[in-house]
Symmetry: C2
Subunit: 324 residues, 2 copies
Amino acid sequence: MNIDMIRAAAKRLDGHARKTPFLSSPFLDEIAGRRVLVKAECLQHTGSFKFRGGWSAVSALDETTRSRGVIAFSSGNHAQGVAAAATAHGVPSVIIMPNDAPRLKIENTRALGAEVVLYDRPGGESREAVGAAIAADRGLTLIKPYDEPQVIAGQGTTGLEIAAQAAELGIDQAEVLVCCGGGGLTSGVALALEADAPGMRIRPVEPEGFDDTARSLLSDQIERNDRQSGSLCDAIITPAPGDITFPILKRLCGPGLVVTEKEALQAVAQAFLRLKIVVEPGGAVALAAALFHGDQLDGDTVIAVCTGGNVDPDVFAQALATLE
Amino acid sequence: MNIDMIRAAAKRLDGHARKTPFLSSPFLDEIAGRRVLVKAECLQHTGSFKFRGGWSAVSALDETTRSRGVIAFSSGNHAQGVAAAATAHGVPSVIIMPNDAPRLKIENTRALGAEVVLYDRPGGESREAVGAAIAADRGLTLIKPYDEPQVIAGQGTTGLEIAAQAAELGIDQAEVLVCCGGGGLTSGVALALEADAPGMRIRPVEPEGFDDTARSLLSDQIERNDRQSGSLCDAIITPAPGDITFPILKRLCGPGLVVTEKEALQAVAQAFLRLKIVVEPGGAVALAAALFHGDQLDGDTVIAVCTGGNVDPDVFAQALATLE
């Protein structure tokens, strides 16, 4: 896993992924007590950065392998990213999703051309068993959500853009806050910034109760979450940092940050009010840390990646209610 | 009023206004029955395209005149655009606003550095009388919201970007739908596209009951609205097309389109769901026409400008409720 793979992915993504904008607001700067720049990956195709990894992985396959199709396990955003990328490449995709995933994400994944197979997560069914049988039967290639070099390479293109967009503003020093699940985006961005903006420091951000990465960085070994569901920040809930991602995180990241669910909802509301973007709670934890945990940050500029916007209207309404 | 003024404004805005992205979604294409590209001006500074006109007008003043300050009448978005531009130039601004304008817009305008003076719109007080007295007293320059060449020039920079962004996608033929109040944006975009993308046709879009421009284009003379308030699309409610804007609209625009308030709310909801942007009802009428009035459009591509995103949370919740 290295920077050359990220640059190669950037070439494959060129003209397919969006170069998402940097957004800002004096109102957010005031809350945070420093300059806040938001990388709005919720404006990416399929509503999250996962399209980058999906496209990178699908486009990296040789033609024969790709033509048989791909399979992915996902609570939602990775599913949509892989489905859209596969469909655009004209190949089939099967997505194994938990039957308690947000309705909107299941529907969207189907509409993007994937065959969705649901497994009984609350009932303890093994998604790996369900998926392995289908994959073997059809010769599908598994696209893992984060612990997969070509996926990390795709997510890392976000970091190349951050470095370039910050440089345009004359910024080469900043804390870069990334919403962190299994660490695919965080490790990819870390590698990209190590190469293109070495004055920046990456900080993974997680929701309270699902802070496996923050704890792993502290203990210097992979720690697991007790729970794997039951959070409004469902998009970034994973069991533990990955075997490929964690060594990168360990080498390049500053300490992890942890925000409450309420702070995530407040960040969703601020993004609505001040940036005019729709962010899901899991995609807003980095902004929440920028706004509400400034005491744990250094420097006068913080860059927060808003990673996704696939939120059900009732959860969004809950977030807006925090404004009252 | 000509294209050279728009190009000059683009130079003055460079590095200050955002080049807002083109967004799209296969889900919107499916509703519309053609390709839909959205120019997301809600992501502009201050949450609407009005920042462009405000910056253009303030930056065009000679230094002595500018230093005395500027004044504007506005129900909201123009106010924020002028206030932010004046503050960034280090000069005072006074904004005359109706006392029934959305609370959020009044608060934002103050926070952006303006002195807000409220007049009693429901009670019939003349904003012109209120404003004239203050302007005379302090030597302020009036920045009109649309019937002002430098404002039209600033809004027209949106059109230069549309032409360039469409060309990148290989598109030179399209209907370009613009949310239309007094016609500042619509006429500016029309002039820009006449020069840079002559294969495109501009179509003004208005809410039902406030279709002064559509009726004026039909009758070939300036027609007025009966009402000037009482719409969720408050951002684009004006008495009539302007004396400067209307001749441009007449020469360059196709027939106007009219959407219902409910369609505007549905478009707000679709922009939330599919594009992850926050659009106010008045800023969504062009998208509403693209989605729900395709029978009045030609060609396989429609470009809709989403002009602003300054919407109160309760109105946004009303829009999301249309999804159920």
